[in-house]
Symmetry: C2
Subunit: 350 residues, 2 copies
Amino acid sequence: MNPGSPGGLDKRKAYILATVVYEYIATAEPVASQTLTQKYHLGVSSATVRNELADLEAGGYLVQPHTSAGRIPSDAGYRTFVDQLMQPETLQAADRRRIRDELRDASRELDEVIENATRLLGRLSKNLAFATKPSNDAQTFRHLQLIWLSARTGMAIVVTSMGVASQSLFELAADVGPDELTRLSNALNSRLGNKMLRDIRESDVAAAVDELGLAGEFKTVIMTALRSARSGEQSTLAASGAQNLLDQPEFQDARKLRSILNIVEEQKTLYDLVADSMTAEAPEVKIGHELGVDEMQDFSIVTVPYRFGESAIGMLSVLGPRRMPYARLMALASGTAETLSARLSDAEIK
Amino acid sequence: MNPGSPGGLDKRKAYILATVVYEYIATAEPVASQTLTQKYHLGVSSATVRNELADLEAGGYLVQPHTSAGRIPSDAGYRTFVDQLMQPETLQAADRRRIRDELRDASRELDEVIENATRLLGRLSKNLAFATKPSNDAQTFRHLQLIWLSARTGMAIVVTSMGVASQSLFELAADVGPDELTRLSNALNSRLGNKMLRDIRESDVAAAVDELGLAGEFKTVIMTALRSARSGEQSTLAASGAQNLLDQPEFQDARKLRSILNIVEEQKTLYDLVADSMTAEAPEVKIGHELGVDEMQDFSIVTVPYRFGESAIGMLSVLGPRRMPYARLMALASGTAETLSARLSDAEIK
DNA sequence: TCTTAGCAATCGCGGGCTAGGAGTGCTAGG
DNA sequence: CCTAGCACTCCTAGCCCGCGATTGCTAAGA
C-alpha cells in the first residue's frame, strides 16, 4: 500500500477502481477484466487487471455477484470514487441557461417556486428529485393584516419576507368594526416589524392589544395566526420524477420500487435522511447502507442546501440507484439549488 | 336472446357473466367453468356453464387468454356488469365515519382540504386517487386587501368565499401611503362585494380608483390581482396512491406502470379524461378503451364531482386496473366527494 | 330442446437437463 | 512484477417434456 495515494490505493488500483465504477454506472453490467483492457488503454494485460481486481475486492471496494462474473462496486467503492477518484463536473452553459429560464417564468409564490425547481431537477437528472420546504421559523416578519369579513369573523394574514406565510380565519365573541381591525393591524406592525417569527413573544402582542383597549380574545387570535405562520409547511416535501426510476434496469422488478415509493409518500423518513445536510457547504452524498434504512440499500441520495439570503433554509435532493452518475447529479443539484436561491432572494419582500 | 332482460342476456347468462366478473376481480385469474359450479351454486353442470361461456364469448362479453384457460371479462363485459349486473354498494358506517373524521381535522385551506381528500381516497381505495382543483372563476368575491409594504411596493390579496384565492405583489411608479391603500381597498370592497369573480369588469375597478383620485396604475394592479385570482389552480391535479398500483399482480411488470405514471405526472391527459364528468350526477365509470388513450387500455377510472353550494366545482377520481371493485370504489368516491363538499360548504366565507 | 357425462385435444407452465460462454484464479515462465 | 495459458466455476438460455388445467365436442338422457 502506498499511504500517500488516494484511499491508500496506489495509482493503478485507483484508476482501475474508478474505471470499474464508471463503467458499471454506464452499463449496469458487472465489469470484467477484459472489458477494462479493451475499452480503456491500461497498458497491462487482463491477467494483471484480474490480480488488481482481486486485491480491490479483498480491500472491500468491489464485490462479485458470483464467481464467473465481473466486479461491481461496493458501497465503499462508490464512496472512494465519489470522495477521491471521480472528475467533478460543472454544468454546461446550456443546462445552466435552461435551469435559469425554467425557474424565471414560474410563479413568485414560494411553494410553487420550490415545486418547479423540484420538477425541473427530476427531469434533468432523470431520477427522483425532492425538496424540503422551508420552515418559516427563521423568516422575518413583514406584515400582519386583519381583514374584516363580518361583525364577528375575519381573516388574519401574516406576510413574511418570503411572501405570504399563512392565512387563518377567526371568530370573535363580540362585535368588532373594520376600523378597529385596521388600527390593531397597524399597532402590531410597528411593534413586530423586522423581528424573526420565532422571536415574537406573546407580550409584544398583548401590549398592542391592551394599548388599544381591545378585547383579550384578540391575543389568542393573533398568536394562533403567528403560530400557524411559523409551523406552516414544516417538514413537508415536494417530490417529482418517481417514474424515472422505472427506467432503471435494476428496478424492473416492481417489488423494489414499492418500498421506495412508500418512503417517498411517507415523507418523514426522507426528511430525516437529508435533515443533517442542512449545514453542508458542498453537495452531500449518501450511498446505500449509509442511508441507514434497510429498504434503501440499493439507493443513493445527493443533497444540497438552498439559501435565502445568507442562511440555508431547505434541501434539494436527488434520489436514485446507487449506480447513479454522481458527478453529474451533484452538478445538477448544485446548479438548481443555486438558481433557486437566487430566485428566492430576488423575490424577497424588503 | 330475451329482449326484456339486462343487456339482451337471459337471466342465467347475466348471472354467469356477473359471477365471472366478480370472481376475476377478486382473484385476477381467468375463471374456469368448474370454478363457477364449485364456488357458486348454479344448479347446472360445468358443461352447461361452458356452453354459456362460449355464448358470452361470442357475444363479446368475455375473452379467453388462450385455449386452455378460463375466461376474463372484455371491456364490454365490464361495462354490462357496471351498468346492469352489479350490486351497488353503500359505505359502511365505519368508513363513513373515518372519512368524516379524517377530513374534519384537516386544515381549512382549500388546497389542503382537497389534497387530504385525495390522499384519503387513495388510501381507502388502495388505488391511485386524483382530484381536479376548482377554477376560481365561479367563486364569489368577498374581499380585496391592499397591503402596504413600502412606499412603492405592496401586496394585493383577494379573498373569495372559498378562502384566500391569491396574493400578488405589485410595484408602483409613484409613492403611496398606507391610508390610501386602505381607502382604495374599502372602496373596492363595497363595489365588488358578492359578485362572482368572472363578472367583475374593469369599469367597476376604474370607478373606484377614479373616485378616490388615485393614479391610473392602480387599475392595472388590481385587475392583475383579480385575474390571477381567477386563473389560479386552473387545471391542476392532486394525486395520491400511485404505489398502490404496484401491488396489483397485473402491474408487476414495471413497463406497464411507466406510461401511466407519465400520464399522471403530465396531468393534462387525466384532466381531459374526467372533465366531461363534471355535470354528472352519479359516479361515472370509464373502462379500458373507453378512455380513448392507448396507454390506458388496462385501466379504468371512476369519477364523481364534488360541489360547493349548488354547483359542481371539481372532480374526484380513482384510477386503477380494469379489474377493480367498481361498486366499492364508486361508493368510496361518492362518499368522499360528499363529505368533501360538505366540508367546503362549512368553510365558506359568508 | 336443453342438459350433462365423458373424453379427446389444446396449450401454458414449470422442472430438469444441457451446451455454451463468460469470466475468474492459478501456475509457470519471461 | 507481468502475462500467457488453461482448468474450473457458474450463470444463462434454450430445449424438451410431462403435467395439469380447461376447453369443445359428441352422444345419450331428461
